[in-house]
């Protein structure tokens, strides 16, 4: 069933009883050419592109909970391609371009809102690093703008210009950055994948990976054994657990990142803004809630909840950046389990096992990567060949000495 203004009117007039399910609820088949573990944004996008762009026909996505129950449904919805290092920037820009045509491609409105993302900086050293980043973006053909204090004041008068402990001296703007409605991204990819014949199998937890003669032959699941020709892992925070089933040694730690939303308020913050004297970032959803977050709690965790000390720290940063947030009431906090890599950058890679592929290490930046991650992972699985924009995102880059360390923090995940 194709969605359109016409379909809405037609269905409304017939009492909205003729809408069809967004996806089938198939029983698992005994064998698939490709199985993707993880029915989140990346797994669903991978399956969609495998089917649509790379002509793979017999695909299943296995999800232990419900579709989109992981990080794709619990992030702060930010979309951007403002990276500094050549290992990252082309990949994220590829993602940005996919975002820009995604809704028409999927026939699903993910409410991509390119309202602009502004990274604030607070001292000369940060300014120089952001200029380096902005120029790196331009090298890749990605427009970026440097805003001085006066321009920022005009654009975002509610920022703390007069009483800041760390004065705001400028910002880097990517106008094409913004937000997208996170759940809708998962649903849109899921629905579109289903239309291309992908079996989306929910409540199906992978409990083992069967290997014969050094290759993967299938997965043990809570719904029985399912055979496969190729296996792709897109399990985000659970990557280490799934990887261990195949004996993979991974440069990943799972950490909890909290996110927050306030009560609905009339729109007042119309950009995505990040604070340079901390990790705080904020935007306002189209429903009116201020959506924000900051740093990870810092300890390894598989619990989708964090602690109050971190909550307080996040709020300190928020109020310091925007004093007028003080009276806004925070409605809800939640946590996502981040697959933090050792250099803060992702991995889309072959593994030591020939038909086992890995998509992981997204840290707290996986949402914006969703389309490109899906496309590049599908490319890798279908062709056994790395997509050019993902060529640096190899699993063996650590032992080879090619980390992609945007923050220069070294191999300690909680510092990225």
């Amino acid at each position: 069933m194709r969605y359109s203004a016409f379909s809405i009117v037609k269905n409304a007039l017939s009492g909205n009883v003729n809408w069809k399910p967004a996806w089938r609820q198939p029983e698992p088949k005994p064998f698939y050419d490709v199985i993707i573990v993880g029915g989140g944004g990346h797994g669903l996008a991978t399956a969609y592109y495998l089917a649509k762009e790379f002509g793979v026909r017999n695909i299943a996505v296995l999800e232990k909970g419900y579709l989109g129950s992981g990080n794709v449904g619990r992030n702060t919805t930010i979309v951007r391609s403002n990276y500094m290092l050549p290992g990252n920037e082309p990949f994220y820009e590829f993602s940005m371009k996919l975002w820009e045509g995604l809704e028409q491609d999927l026939n699903y409105n993910a409410m991509l809102s390119q309202r602009g993302i502004i990274n604030l900086f607070h001292n000369d050293g940060q300014r120089d690093a952001y200029i380096r980043r902005g120029n790196a973006m331009w090298m890749e053909g990605v427009p970026a703008e440097l805003l001085d204090r006066a321009a920022l004041r005009k654009m975002l008068p509610y920022l703390n210009f007069d009483h800041a402990r760390f004065p705001i001296i400028g910002g880097l703007l990517q106008k094409r950055g913004g937000t997208a409605r996170h759940d809708a991204v998962a649903w849109g990819f899921g629905r579109a994948a289903d239309k291309h014949g992908v079996d989306l199998i929910q409540n199906c937890e992978v409990t083992g990976i069967r290997r014969e003669n050094g290759v993967v032959t299938g997965v043990e699941t809570s719904r029985g054994f399912i055979g496969c020709g190729k296996l792709g892992l897109a399990a985000a925070g659970n990557t280490s657990r799934v990887g261990q089933m195949a004996g993979l040694k991974l440069p990943i730690e799972s950490h909890v990142l909290q996110a927050f939303v306030t009560e609905g308020l009339k729109p007042a913050i119309n950009h995505v803004i990040t604070y340079g004297a901390g990790h705080f970032y904020i935007s306002q959803s189209d429903k009116g809630g201020l959506v924000f977050g900051a740093e990870i709690d810092g300890y390894n965790s598989y619990a989708q909840r964090g602690n109050l000390a971190t909550v307080e720290h996040v709020m300190e940063e928020g109020v310091t950046m925007i004093p007028g947030l003080s009276r806004a009431r925070v409605l809800r906090s939640w946590g996502g389990v981040m697959d933090m890599s050792m250099d803060g950058s992702p991995i889309i890679s072959r593994t030591p096992i020939d038909n086992l592929y890995l998509n992981a290490g997204w840290c707290y930046g996986g949402f914006k990567a969703t389309p490109a991650s899906g496309w590049c992972f599908a490319h890798l699985i279908a062709k056994n060949e790395t997509h050019p924009v993902a060529r640096f995102l190899r699993l063996d880059r650590f032992e080879r000495g090619y980390p992609i360390d945007e923050h220069g923090a070294g191999p300690q995940p909680n510092l990225h």
Binding site: N238, S240, R241, K249, L250, P251, I252, E253, S254, D297, G298, Y299, N300, S301, Y302, A303, G306, N307, L308, A309, T310, H313, M342, F398, E399, P411, Q412, P413, N414
Partner: protein, 92 residues
């Protein structure tokens, strides 16, 4: 865990008095060890869901590095001990 840590030297303290480094089960290899051993030490993490030993430093307290043994899913703390392998003589 993560709200309060019972420091063996200072007593029960809030999380913000500590900084966290990561896996405490890793042992720094001998200089002669293989490249793989060294790479594993620096880059590879078991990252278990469940029981885990993690290095926390009581930065705002005694500044000792501690081994916090805890559960990464329930956040229950099983034990906290001084990070020095040699038993430390407390002289408080």
């Amino acid at each position: 865990m993560a709200s309060l840590i019972p420091c063996p030297h200072c007593g029960i303290r809030p999380k913000e008095e500590f900084s966290i480094r990561g896996d405490a089960s890793l042992v720094r290899p001998d200089p002669e060890s293989s490249d793989e051993t060294w790479n594993d030490y620096v880059h590879i993490r078991a990252n278990p869901r469940g029981r885990y030993r993690e290095h926390w430093q009581h930065v705002a307290g005694c500044r000792r590095w501690l081994v916090v043994e805890r559960d990464t899913f329930t956040h229950e703390v099983f034990s906290v001990s001084d990070g020095a392998v040699r038993p430390w003589e407390t002289s408080r």
